[in-house]
């Protein structure tokens, strides 16, 4: 159940990133509502999961889903660059962030 909450929290985070894009495209108050609801939901689910899971592990998985999800969403939904160097550098950030959270 706690793991399902982490995965759902990560999905909420990706929806939040889509909402950020929506806000920048002047989608009005619905984009702001979506932004607020998705991140509030994401944090609530994450803190619920942390009641039973180790904090670093939960955080690492949550960050992982959020970063990978928002990169893929950017590429496939918003046509952001698919260049290999961009993916390499994002992977470096992702790998280090997940590592830091696992050992912290």
């Amino acid at each position: 159940m706690a793991w399902a909450a982490v995965v759902l929290a990560g999905i909420c985070e990706v929806i939040g990133v889509i909402a950020i894009k929506g806000v920048t495209q002047k989608k009005g108050w619905t984009a702001y509502a979506m932004l607020f609801a998705s991140f509030a939901g994401s944090f609530a689910l994450l803190s619920y999961a942390m009641n039973t899971l180790a904090m670093g592990t939960a955080y690492a998985v949550w960050t992982g889903i959020g970063t990978v999800g928002s990169t893929l969403t950017g590429m496939f939904l918003f046509g952001e660059p698919k260049e290999w160097r961009r993916l390499l550098f994002i992977s470096m950030i992702l790998g280090s962030a997940v590592g830091l959270k696992l050992i912290s």
Partner: protein, 116 residues
Amino acid sequence: MNRHWLLVVLSGAVEVLWVTGLKHSTHIWEWLLTALAIAISFYLIINASKHLPVGTVYAVFTGLGTAGTVLTEMIVFGEPFSWLKTLLILVLLAGVIGLKLITGQEAADTKKGADA
């Protein structure tokens, strides 16, 4: 460094403030400052995302936030120093710098393409 990247780096710094706030706040005004910091960091990434790819902005925002939080825990809150953590932070920063370098280039390439 151009203005949009400055916004992303700033948002990461503000993120460190609110992550620290979430963990260490005890008084009502500390919680209010934490909420204010959350609002400011989102304001910054929204503005940066108007000009930079949102996937890049989000990766850098969460990455710098993580690195900054780990550093803050070591420097301010007395977590023990760790070579492994320091190495991971350096790899992370290299990723951020790399993204910054190629993102400028992509924009220039696109502009060149548009002009041609």
